[in-house]
Symmetry: C2
Subunit: 212 residues, 2 copies
DNA sequence: CGCAGTTTTGACGAAGTTCAAGCACAGTGG
DNA sequence: CCACTGTGCTTGAACTTCGTCAAAACTGCG
């Protein structure tokens, strides 16, 4: 069930109780409203962030404003680790979002916990490179919908917490192209739009084949 | 100086003595000839590979043969670590290449050594996402040349160990487009081709501005 | 109910791909 | 030593896909 209106904060059905990154006294949850910056490129890094509910976009900008979203993070996922002491990307809340911030005491060795997360992120980024480098618009959107579906437990109904603009900037497409592809997929009977932010997958196999 | 013909194996000028990943008795160097497979997607992972000389391409394929190279690895660099027990990519020698293979004894915790490598790789992959998602052909090639130059110590002369085909598959372009962009950069006096595999950067600032 | 922002749709143009041909260079053998 | 051949690179012309610009339609919210 999709949480409707009982609370001020949107709680999509795919929210799970994530395993905390570290033990000990529970870190309080920090709230970010839609569009709020969590950290900026160039800022000093050091903390770890775990999404409690909501969604986060990680992105970079070119001087003229072009934006590339390199990842979305949903409930349960951890982000914010960097190769050096500086953030190389921006992190923003897409919607009202709750995040647990873990300030790791300097001198603590977190590599055992961090390595699997970093490797998971690396694999995802490399797979996304294939999408951006070698797939066309339909294939990209299909791959995206499959990815979102799988990250939400493989359900027919998929919630898209982000705007068409975000999807475009994630897939290296314009919002118009994203919109046109959605229309084409609807016409082909592959998906159905329940509302702007949630779709239903009608032909999973076709979608999978398109996204490779 | 570029090693000419004294040995059978090409030893580009930018070969450095890499720091070994692990201590102890020196692991022997395994040789791969041009195009030889180091590992394949789907194979069991577990070893670490450090390039001694030569160059390696990491890539993925789509069912119809489209290829995306996600990374090149040059002398001194380590690759081969994965998020799970399986390789998700192919690794091939671009030229005659020497690789030290470290079979990590099961039960050994390498996370302290691996984490910085994984994070470095993650940052590079994410930066490459920006190139593939949001930059046009000239910007991609410019960014590539700058990257190669910096990885070789920022010299004016840059050796390209890979073919135009490899460059295309790394930048998400066809070989024809890569070639045309090289021609344009020559016409603008930004670069000069010494031979097919080595270029000289004449206007570094212009190239940097183009690649952002 | 009406407004603002987002999404969709349409017409057009530019960038890059495809297909095809020609060129350059290294290696081979006469 | 030079022609021959193969491979990789460059160039050209036609075509396709996606981006741009503009306008209309829709959604959600006050």
């Amino acid at each position: 069930m999709y949480a409707q209106a009982s609370a001020k904060i949107e709680l999509p059905s795919y929210v799970q109780s994530p395993a905390p990154v570290s033990e000990g006294p529970t870190t309080p949850v920090t709230f970010f409203s839609s569009g709020a910056e969590i950290y900026a490129q160039g800022e000093k890094a050091g903390a770890l962030y775990q999404v409690e509910f909501g969604a986060v976009r990680i992105y970079r900008l070119l001087a003229d404003g072009r934006r590339q979203i390199s990842a979305f993070h949903m409930a349960g996922e951890t982000f914010g680790f960097e190769a050096d002491a500086t953030h190389h990307f921006f992190a923003e809340a897409i919607n009202a979002t709750g995040v647990r911030v873990f300030r790791t005491p300097s001198g603590t060795d977190m590599s055992r916990q961090l390595l699997p997360l970093a490797l998971k992120g690396l694999t995802r980024a490399q797979e996304h490179l294939l999408v951006l480098g070698r797939q066309n618009a339909i294939e990209r959107v299909a791959a995206f919908l499959v990815e979102m579906s799988e990250r939400q437990g493989g359900l027919r109904q998929v919630e898209l917490p982000m705007s068409r603009n975000d999807i475009g900037d994630y897939l290296g497409l314009t919002i118009e192209t994203v919109s046109r592809v959605f229309t084409r997929l609807k016409e082909k009977g592959v998906i159905r739009l329940l509302n702007l932010r949630s779709i239903e997958i009608l032909k999973r196999d076709t979608l999978l084949a398109m996204g490779e």
